[in-house]
Symmetry: C2
Subunit: 405 residues, 2 copies
């Protein structure tokens, strides 16, 4: 109740940075828009008397001191978006964290443990792979030097871009080891809306496999080259995209498989494509099944390449095993929601999140709120204000409980 | 014999403009590289005492006066290339025309009819559709004003680009009506090499159908959207590319079908594509069969769109019926080759050519020479110097015979 209007105002102010004509956000990691959003966040953190620290991969931490020098309770998410992002993915968790702090400040409440609001670098992984990079480095899953050397899809080096926007910070990565981590996020899928659920208590998160395949054939004239003499890289890619869909259907839910990006070269109407590059995103809650799907995919790639006499190159862009969140934290979320009279459901997360990396370092869990029509990574991503406020209220309850432990 | 070295030198000099690291040419129509090649051609024409005229669509004509003011005999081709072009496609026919003039000049020979060497604008149709545009406008098949209003794949207007490079000429389009038109060209396919043929006498040319299809679905999150709720535009495009290949196989030769260009939007690894645009190039020697294939394609597009609940938009980019060349000219070509002791074969052209448009205005035919490995629209496009010289010799014979009529 006390949270709804300030939270909506904060989200609206945040959404002025990197706004797109379609009503969404475009804030690819470490671009100027990302910097502007970070600058605004740091200003807001200081206004709330948080102590701001930036680490070597650009993660931003705002600390509210506790009564004692104990490991803090941390919440947060990310400020970066995909190119066709909405106004909530990542943003909601960070802004709600700020509103919890404002709520405590307004009441002059001090907690036993410090509270930290975090914004992690490059969660989306669209410009630089892998995704969840800032939290991964924080949790010790990727050496900082290797992360800084990542080359972007636009050819830039991550470390250079980080320095350029002024967010290569001095705090050693991973220094802040939380007592617990809670991430509040929109569901980004259709399940909660379909079932009329108010709050999702996220108990686990799918394994994610990202690969890129490049087929290499021979460019030639579209009018003069008989079909049987062609080595058409585009046919390899198209056939793989169709096969990836069939693979998903063969396995059935919860396997999801997506070809999101595909480029042909030279990409001309009357030239047989010489090269075709495409990405495959495979996800499953069970590691063994995900590995089986990956093996089938590798076979398909070889078969289709042989069929069209193409060479093929494979690049792994990201690979994360399924994650199980901390059951005690999941129960705290359920208890808060039930106590407030809201319908709660245990959930699996289909998307990757910073919480999955933080779970390597400390007990972690996530709170979900419904996404209208299940839309996300789309400018029309939306959640009703009351749902956003419910999520923030549960976050407040859980953070307060944890901060007194 | 007298033609081989000067011709090779001329081709080498011509290939310095728009040269690519891979050893080919990139001279998209009306770019700076196209202008530079035109400037060089005009210089060379003047050095050979040709009278240079440029028409409203930028076609360049160099005239060598005859003894009488009769309709001229014309030869020529084009200077523009695809982005991954070789050094011969189009260039060979223009440069050989210049060498025929040089040969006549060196011997002080005058012909009864004038001789014209032509370079037509935008034959490739890669940047601006349709292809063979300059010759099409010349032959009255496309109004000049409409051609000038064509929007390029880069968003530019053809008329603006033509003025920018200084080739919006004063000669009224179509004013020069030839007595006959002969185009010398590389085969761009594998048939002549496979059969050990020296000279192709081209008797007909396939019909060409170029269409662009745009599938419109809904972008959404790759991790959270169940397979059955997806409206994946990329799946529509990939399935169509695979179906286009199957359609070609069902019909069998001589039908050829190519998906050369394909773009996804937003083209991100973890976002289901909202839009997918692809081109389909269909060709057949028989108009009725080509129409049948087009109808089948239209059905496929509707089926695949319905299957994935996609909208679809269709754009026709070019459509030309099969062309039959002038039998008397074809026989002149055969006679010259046989007389010189070379193996000649009657051919169908798989590629579109300016001669097919000129055939609307006057008797026309084409001379082909073999392409090594059938490669074209590829930097490795190649023809042996002796083969290039043979083609030029037949061109000389045929032009001389026609110019005395
Ligand atoms: N939450 C979210 O959209 N994360 C991006 C990584 C992914 O594709 O799951
Ligand atoms: N000769 C040639 O490559 N023409 C371009 C038009 C076509 O695609 O056939």
């Amino acid at each position: 109740q006390d949270l709804i209007q300030p939270l909506m105002d904060r989200l609206a102010a945040n959404a002025t940075v990197g706004a797109t004509p379609a009503g969404g956000l475009c804030r690819l990691a470490l671009t100027d828009a990302d910097r502007d959003a970070r600058d605004q966040l740091v200003r807001w953190m200081r206004e709330l008397d948080l102590q701001v620290q930036v680490d070597g991969i650009g993660n931003i931490f705002g600390t509210r001191p506790g009564r004692r020098h104990l490991p803090p309770v941390m919440t947060g998410s990310h400020l970066d978006t995909v190119a066709t992002g909405g106004r909530l993915d990542g943003q909601y968790g960070v802004m709600a964290g700020l509103e919890v702090v404002r709520w405590l400040n307004a009441r002059g409440l001090q907690t036993e443990r410090p509270l930290v609001v975090a914004a992690f670098t490059n969660e989306e992984g669209v410009r630089f792979q892998p995704d969840m990079m800032g939290s991964l480095v924080h949790a010790g899953g990727l050496p900082l030097a290797q992360a800084l050397d990542t080359l972007g899809t636009d050819g830039t080096r991550l470390g250079d871009e980080l320095r350029r926007i002024g967010y290569a910070g001095a705090l050693p990565c991973g220094q802040i080891v939380p007592h617990a981590f809670i991430e509040l996020h929109i569901e980004q899928g259709p399940v909660m809306e379909a079932e009329g659920v108010d709050i999702g208590a996220v108990a686990d998160l799918q394994g994610i496999s990202w690969q890129e395949f490049t087929f290499i054939g021979q460019s030639n004239h579209a009018g003069t080259t008989p079909m049987h003499l062609r080595r058409d890289a585009g046919q390899g890619a198209a056939a793989l995209a169709v096969a990836v869909r069939a693979l998903a259907q063969r396995h059935g839910a919860p396997l999801v498989a997506t070809v999101g990006a595909l480029q042909l070269q030279p990409n001309l109407i009357n030239v047989i494509p010489a090269r075709a590059t495409l990405t495959v995103d495979l996800r499953h809650t069970d590691e063994a099944t995900l590995q089986r799907a990956e093996a089938e995919l590798a076979d398909l790639v070889q078969q289709l390449a042989a069929q069209e006499r193409l060479e093929v190159q494979t690049r792994r862009l990201a690979r994360f095993e399924p994650v199980h969140f901390d059951l005690r934290l999941v129960r705290l979320i359920q208890d808060s929601a039930r106590h407030r009279g809201w319908k709660v459901r245990t959930m699996t997360s289909g998307a990757g999140h910073d919480a999955q990396m933080m779970a390597r370092q400390c007990p972690a869990a996530m709170i979900f709120v419904p996404s209208v029509a299940g839309l996300s990574h789309n400018p029309r991503e939306h959640t009703a204000p009351e749902d956003l406020a419910r999520g923030a209220a549960v976050l407040l309850d859980v953070l307060l409980a944890l901060a007194e432990e």
